[in-house]
């Protein structure tokens, strides 16, 4: 059966999985089958009735250029000025929004396959191994999605702000992905906890709508955190900004690059701690995942 570059890359970290007590061979096999099925999944926009192509082609990889295009729209925010907090929080806000919505809308059927229960859970495979396979599956998507989305801004940032900035930017993207994995898992976990497979599709639609509204409103808050009058961008710290993830991730730029040691910027630690906390509470009752 077809092997994947992604999996060959993953092989380099085999020892890590083995250390965690995961049956790497089985996990790899599950991922291989999942990726193969993803290739055959035609996204709704490409779905031309009647035309049944037997040849595998990866619509996901092909669709990535769309995200690169979205990503290009972020370039102006990147090169606008030196107000890192404002610029990067806008960028992170948009990136998080786009990734979250596409994780929940386009990939929910992939990431939350109700057939998994009948196919995988009835086999002599440890639950741990299945959960890890699913997590890695999500991470693979996330890697490509966030890579495509941020590539243009990374290049622009490298040219405009230099290596240190870019390095920090990359690290922050990784943390953002971490938060998104955990949030996505949490959303699915909650959905699965209260509803069964059948109702899932409806629920996912509601979640999508809800998320869109929430993020649109949240976005207003991000923009309003800054007094943009007269193009004189001043950050006015207040308590509720702690609640806005993009600002957590933007804070280190201000702290490390503009040497702004206002105590408020310490809430970057919130960003590091939040996924951690969620993971722990999740794994404690991951009986259903």
């Amino acid at each position: 059966m077809k092997d994947f570059q992604t999996l060959k890359f993953l092989d380099m970290f085999k020892f890590l999985f083995v250390k965690l007590g995961i049956d790497y061979g089985v996990m790899r096999r599950i991922l291989q089958v999942k990726l193969l099925m993803d290739q055959r999944r035609v996204p709704t926009i490409f779905n031309q009735t009647g035309k049944k192509k037997e040849k595998d082609q990866n619509y996901f990889i092909k669709g990535l250029w769309m995200y690169v295009l979205y990503g290009a729209l972020l370039i102006p925010f990147m090169i606008l000025g030196e107000s890192y907090l404002f610029q990067t929080s806008i960028i992170f806000g948009i990136v998080m929004f786009l990734i979250m919505t596409s994780m929940i809308s386009d990939f929910s059927s992939v990431l939350l396959d109700i057939r998994d229960k009948t196919v995988l859970a009835t086999k002599p495979v440890e639950r741990k191994t299945i959960s890890m396979a699913k997590t890695i599956h999500v991470c693979i998507y996330l890697f490509f999605l966030s890579g495509a989305l941020t590539l243009p801004s990374i290049i622009a940032g490298l040219i405009k702000h230099g290596i240190l900035f870019t390095f920090l930017f990359l690290i922050e993207i990784i943390f953002i992905d971490l938060l998104i994995v955990v949030l996505t898992a949490l959303i699915y976990f909650v959905i699965l906890k209260f509803f069964d497979g059948e109702k899932l599709k409806d629920i996912i639609n509601y979640v999508q709508i809800g998320l869109t509204i929430a993020l649109a409103i949240g976005y207003q808050f991000v923009a309003r955190s800054f007094d943009i009058l007269n193009l004189d961008i001043v950050f006015v710290p207040s308590w509720w900004q702690f609640l806005i993830p993009p600002i957590w991730y933007a804070a280190p730029f201000e702290l490390l690059l503009n040497h702004n040691f206002s105590p408020l910027y310490c809430f970057i630690f919130a960003s590091l701690d939040c996924p951690n906390y969620l993971i722990h509470s999740l794994y404690k009752n991951d009986a259903r995942l």
């Binding site: 037997e54 057939r115 009948t118 859970a121 440890e126």
Partner: protein
């Protein structure tokens, strides 16, 4: 011939299961010995599939003790290595080809890829699916999918089989082949747990019939024993009697009159 002893492969003690407030299983007690073919029957919604799902570890919130091959199943996955399962709903990765799906399943059971491949192709040929090994399952008919599921449950030569309505969609000839396979497997010391509502097949193949009604076992014994106890001819009639059902004519009449527009 492998000698068939009284070895207990499956034991269920006081199994209770609720879905919300609804009690689906209300104290099931059952011991199944090696080599038996259990016909597990009951009206729609009696809890047959629920029982099987619990035994496979797919449902976790239940009360009672279940042991398979002498070990408690809770928190245990190892026993699944020797179990085959055909689910009631044909849920499978159907955008794979039969070859891809079957080798995958075989490998999950710990078999070598080449071994499963040969085995699977041969079984497909024998089951009337020759030439379809490299075709996507999504293009298969219901009966063909069912055959793939049956094959996938047998690849690893399991000792205990759970079949939940396995012959849905199978044509008459394939049903004959399937029935024969079951009795030969049982003769070779395999145990079969066969859940179905199709009475005449159950009547013919089962060495022991268990009738579930209202979440309880209301009859347990061989067909001959049930016949003696109930003075009825066929399993279907015994079924009607034990489930206290005798108004099929009246219901049918009302049904037809509603179809024709008399809203009483």
């Amino acid at each position: 011939m492998i000698p068939i002893g009284n070895e207990v492969v499956l034991s269920i003690k006081d199994l209770q299961k609720n879905y919300g407030k609804k009690q689906v299983l209300d104290g099931i007690n059952l011991e199944v010995s090696k080599g038996q073919i259990i016909g597990y029957i009951g009206p729609n919604g009696a809890g047959k599939s629920t029982t099987v799902k619990i035994l496979l570890g797919l449902e976790e919130s239940y009360r009672g003790d279940i042991e398979i091959f002498g070990k408690r199943i809770q928190g245990n996955t190892e026993y699944k290595r020797k179990i085959g399962y055909v689910p009631e709903v044909a849920e499978m990765y159907d955008n794979l080809t039969a070859y891809e799906y079957l080798t995958f399943v075989g490998e999950l059971y710990g078999l070598e890829s080449e071994v499963v491949e040969q085995k699977a192709e041969k079984l497909m040929d024998l089951f009337g699916l020759s030439g379809l090994f490299h075709t996507r399952i999504s293009s298969f008919s219901k009966g063909m999918r069912q055959k793939v599921l049956i094959i996938s449950s047998l690849l690893h030569n399991p000792d205990l089989l759970f079949f939940d309505e396995p012959i849905n969609g199978l044509d008459a000839n394939s049903v004959m082949v399937f029935k024969e396979i079951l009795s030969q497997l049982a003769a070779n010391g395999k145990t079969v747990f066969y859940s179905s509502h199709i009475m005449d097949v159950v009547e013919k193949i089962s060495s022991r019939i268990i009738l579930l009604n209202g979440g309880k076992i209301v009859a347990d014994g061989s067909f001959e024993e049930l016949k003696k106890q109930n003075k009825e001819g066929t399993l279907e009639e015994i079924f009607n009697q034990l489930t206290g059902f005798n108004e099929h004519k009246e219901i049918a009449e009302q049904f037809v009159s509603v179809i024709q527009g008399d809203l009483i």
